[in-house]
């Protein structure tokens, strides 16, 4: 029953996509608007199919229908309801189904949003592109990654449940959907980019249409990445949240190119420049989401996230190649129309800063990609096995991060077209002192190491710049000074700065020790007294929990646990963290109590400022939401760039009161 429903849903989804493409292409070729208007109907058919399949999968999981192979492999009668629902995305086939569902959701939303303009060839081609992506994912589910394969369960069978690591924390229910909403969301701007290239309407119209879609996708991706880091911190028991694991990198790559795009797109909207570059960034972002799925779902790289599977890898790689080939082909074909009408007048200008930003983000993405695939390349070339880990990524990305922070400080105060040293000195005065104040403060509270301090100083500088922009905008426009792309963007900058500071501080000043304590004994780690009180055992449906009680600094008692899962016999720790505004004390039990002495081994990790990573992530998402609201509207036909009078006197006299308005798109 569930299998039949699920397969029917997949077939409906695939059929909707295929027929939708056929009808729309026919309508486009013959110029029949009534055919193009059917795009909405087909998108709803696809959505219906995806919802039906998801419903069937959830029903199978909740009713423990072990005749579905996916439930047979990953379901269990003892998994709690929430994790039972989340089981869908704890393994390959179900996660592709989630992808299909979200894709169908986006297709239907786009069709609905543009329902008044369905006969516009741009919208029709965008829908065709999204249907084509849909054909791929529904086709994948009907062939290599079928979530509804059947199996005959032996009588009395109970499944093993999802990987214990994935049913240990509530964030597992939220992090993958967020991430996928981000990944899949980039399909929309990609589809419009393809549509713009096909129709030859490569001006700025399609950019404006998809601006919010890109922001939404970016916001979800950001949230997904931060939630993933948080999950890793709360679950994995080693006190870390980011270790440049291939899968983390796979999610970070589209984030980097997407971020670059969000910046450089403003140059195109404003000055009509960088068209090829923007199209390439969008196509690269979408292609990288596919490449990331390939890396994580094919088992070619070692990772805790990797789901190994036979034929899915080559198929995904093939699709990646198709996406790249189509993008490159289309951009090459339209090359002559993509020439920029304008020129960048001076490197010291907003455009120049965005260009520098893009070079840095591209370099960042390149370093991350290279570090991820390098071991594979070397092994293929000469059979040598080597590892690329945290030391490489830290060393290579740190200078890029510093340069980006500097740019974050300078760029927002730069005028378009041409800035002067005078303007910069005037506008950067207070932000720069903000940076100095951060430096001094860090030194006073005892931070050491010039590199980390430099990071704090640059962060203060950048924060000063963002706050200055927000303050000016608020003074001029009241509460509207916090909405709109430019102002929301400054809020996002503040969030990013928080993340950067927390990252630098927690990785540089981490201190950890392993202590073995008998009940009642204490030990001091990095100035914190840790007292082990004792342990108790709790039996649960699917696991046995050994809960240790640990008092920190004579205050509250924390309870790090060890969970032994009945199925598979895996033992997974659940750390307990004393979260504080300045410092986290992270407790993780590494062994069960010794049967004779009652001693346990506890790993104590003390890291400063970790909580600001999550706060920073929240601020980034809030900033993204603020950017979605319309800011100050500009007359769309108004001239968008001012002439530069000789000597730049115009700028010099106006002080700092203009640029908030300048950046509003």
């Amino acid at each position: 029953m569930n299998r039949a429903l699920g397969l029917a849903g997949l077939l409906v989804g695939l059929g909707g996509c295929v027929i939708g493409i056929g009808v729309l292409l026919n309508g486009l070729r013959r110029g029949r608007p009534h055919l193009l208007k059917l795009g909405l109907a087909y998108s709803l058919v696809v959505l219906f199919g995806a919802v039906l399949s998801t419903f069937a999968m959830q029903r199978a999981l909740i009713t423990r229908d072990f005749s579905v192979e996916f439930v047979f492999d990953h379901g269990s009668s003892t998994t709690p309801l929430l994790f039972n629902i989340a089981t869908m995305w704890s393994a390959l086939e179900g996660s592709i189904l989630l992808w299909g569902l979200i894709l169908a959701g986006y297709i239907a939303t786009v069709a609905w949003r543009f329902r008044g303009r369905l006969e516009d060839p741009l919208v029709a081609w965008a829908l065709v592109t999204m249907f084509a992506v849909g054909v791929f994912f529904f086709g994948l589910m009907l062939t290599a990654a079928n979530p509804f394969r059947g199996v005959v369960p032996p009588p009395g069978y109970d499944g093993p449940g999802p990987n214990p690591l994935l049913q240990n924390h509530i964030l597992m229910a939220v992090h993958p959907p967020m991430l996928y909403l981000g990944y899949v969301g980039f399909t929309v701007p990609f589809a419009f980019a393809v549509a713009a290239l096909v129709t030859g309407r490569v001006g700025e119209g399609w950019l404006v249409e998809t601006r919010r879609w890109t922001l939404v996708a970016w916001g979800f991706l950001t949230a997904g990445i931060v939630l993933g880091a948080w999950w890793s911190y709360e679950v994995l028991g080693w006190g870390g949240y980011w270790k440049w694991d291939p899968v983390e990198n796979a999610s970070f790559l589209p984030w980097l190119t997407g971020t670059a795009y969000l910046h450089s797109v403003m140059v195109q909207e404003r000055r009509g420049m960088l068209r090829v570059w923007n199209l390439s960034l969008l196509c690269a972002t979408f292609a990288l989401t596919i490449l990331g799925t390939f890396l994580t779902r094919s088992g070619v790289v070692e990772s805790v996230h990797a789901f190994s599977s036979g034929t899915v890898g080559p198929i995904l790689l093939g699709f990646f190649a198709v996406v790249v080939a189509v993008s490159v082909g289309l951009i090459g074909w339209r090359g002559d129309q993509l020439r920029s009408p304008g020129r960048i007048d001076s490197p010291v200008s907003r455009e120049g800063a965005f260009l520098a930003n893009n070079v840095l983000f591209a370099a960042f993405a390149f370093v991350v990609l290279l570090g991820t695939v390098f071991p594979l390349i070397i092994e293929a070339l000469n059979g040598e096995r080597l590892s690329v880990g945290v030391p490489f990524f830290s060393r290579m990305t740190m200078p890029i991060g510093f340069a980006l922070l500097t740019l974050m400080a300078v760029a927002p105060v730069l005028p378009w077209r041409k800035g002067t040293g005078e303007v910069l000195r005037d506008r950067l005065w207070w932000p720069a002192w903000g940076g100095v104040a951060c430096l001094v403060l860090a030194l006073v509270v005892g931070a050491t190491g010039p590199t980390v301090l430099l990071a704090f100083g640059l962060a203060g500088f950048a924060a000063g710049s963002a706050i200055r922009q927000l303050a000016l905008a608020a003074r001029r426009q009241g509460w509207r000074g916090f909405v709109g792309r430019a102002n929301g963007g400054m809020v996002v900058h503040l969030g990013t700065i928080l993340v950067a500071v927390a990252f630098a501080a927690s990785t540089s000043y981490i201190r950890q020790a392993e202590v073995t304590l008998a009940p009642g004994a204490s030990s001091t780690v990095a100035g914190h007294e840790v007292t082990y009180l004792g342990s108790r055992t709790v039996e649960r449906d699917n696991r046995v929990e050994v809960i240790s009680q640990v008092r920190v600094d004579g205050g509250r008692v924390y309870e790090p646990r060890l969970n032994r899962y009945r199925m598979g016999g895996m033992t997974i720790g659940t750390p307990s963290v004393r979260v504080g505004p300045t410092e986290d004390v992270y407790l993780s039990v590494s062994s069960s109590p010794d049967p004779v002495t009652g001693e346990v081994t506890i790993r104590v990790i003390v890291q400063p400022l970790v909580v600001w990573l999550w706060v920073g992530g929240i601020v980034m998402v809030v900033g993204t939401v603020l950017s979605l609201f319309p800011g100050r509207r500009r007359d769309p036909t108004a001239p968008t760039s001012a002439g530069v009078t000789s000597g730049g006197a115009r700028r010099g006299t106006e002080g700092g009161d203009r640029q908030g308005a300048e950046a509003v798109g």
């Binding site: 080693w238 870390g240 270790k243 070692e302 990772s303 805790v304 990797a306 304008g342 960048i344 260009l355 070079v359 370099a363 390149f366 370093v367 570090g371 390098f374 070397i378 070339l381 040598e384 096995r385 080597l386 590892s387 690329v388 880990g389 945290v390 030391p391 490489f392 290579m396 002067t420 005078e422 000195r425 005037d426 005065w429 100095v436 030194l443 050491t448 190491g449 010039p450 301090l453 430099l454 100083g457 201190r511 950890q512 020790a513 590494s590 100050r632 500009r634 108004a638 001239p639 001012a642 000789s646 000597g647 730049g648 006197a649 115009r650 010099g652 106006e654 002080g655 009161d657 308005a661």
Partner: protein, 181 residues
């Protein structure tokens, strides 16, 4: 930069000594923050710094510092004992590389084919910067269309049509309506 007619609002911000003072404060703070504790000797911090550079060969994508696997525990003991023998960081890492192969080091090698991972991004970034500089200098040489009087007239007409000509804020060519005071 000839006609900088009105004086800047905050003249001291334009003074070189003001920025110099700021630079000196930064320099002083950075110098004061240099950590002088020696990197030899036995300490948890030093052990941890070494552990995060070694891969746990029994685990998936974890460093020796993060892992509870038996081999990782053994590595940690080895690091402790080598530190006590007074070996330097490089010697300790070389010891592991010799015994377990290059794969155990999470830092890619600085020689041989593997060193490309360090070289390629740097060369690439340098090439990008050179290309940009070349582009800018080309753009500067071939100045595009210049506005002539006819263009200026067109703009003036359009602005007049919009009713902004003669406005005290006629500097606001963008039409952003950014009126101050």
């Amino acid at each position: 930069m000839s006609g900088r007619a009105p004086a800047p609002r905050h003249p001291w911000r334009q003074r070189w000594w003001a920025w110099m003072a700021m630079g000196l404060v930064v320099l002083g703070v950075l110098l004061a923050s240099i950590d002088t504790t020696p990197s030899r000797g036995v300490s948890d911090e030093r052990a941890f710094a070494l552990e995060i550079q070694l891969k746990c060969l029994q685990c998936v994508g974890e460093s020796v510092a993060a892992s509870q696997a038996p081999l990782a525990v053994q590595f940690r003991e080895e690091i402790d004992s080598q530190m006590r023998q007074g070996r330097t960081d490089d010697e300790i890492l070389a010891f592991f590389a010799q015994r377990y192969g290059q794969e155990v080091l999470l830092t890619p090698p600085s020689s041989g084919l593997g060193s490309l991972i360090w070289i390629v991004p740097v060369v690439g970034l340098a090439a990008a910067v050179v290309a940009l500089v070349a582009l800018f200098s080309r753009w500067r040489r071939e100045v595009g269309a210049r506005a002539d009087d006819a263009d200026r007239e067109l703009v003036a007409e359009e602005l007049a049509r919009r009713g902004t000509a003669g406005d005290p804020d006629s500097n606001d060519v963008r039409g952003e309506g950014d009126r101050r005071g």
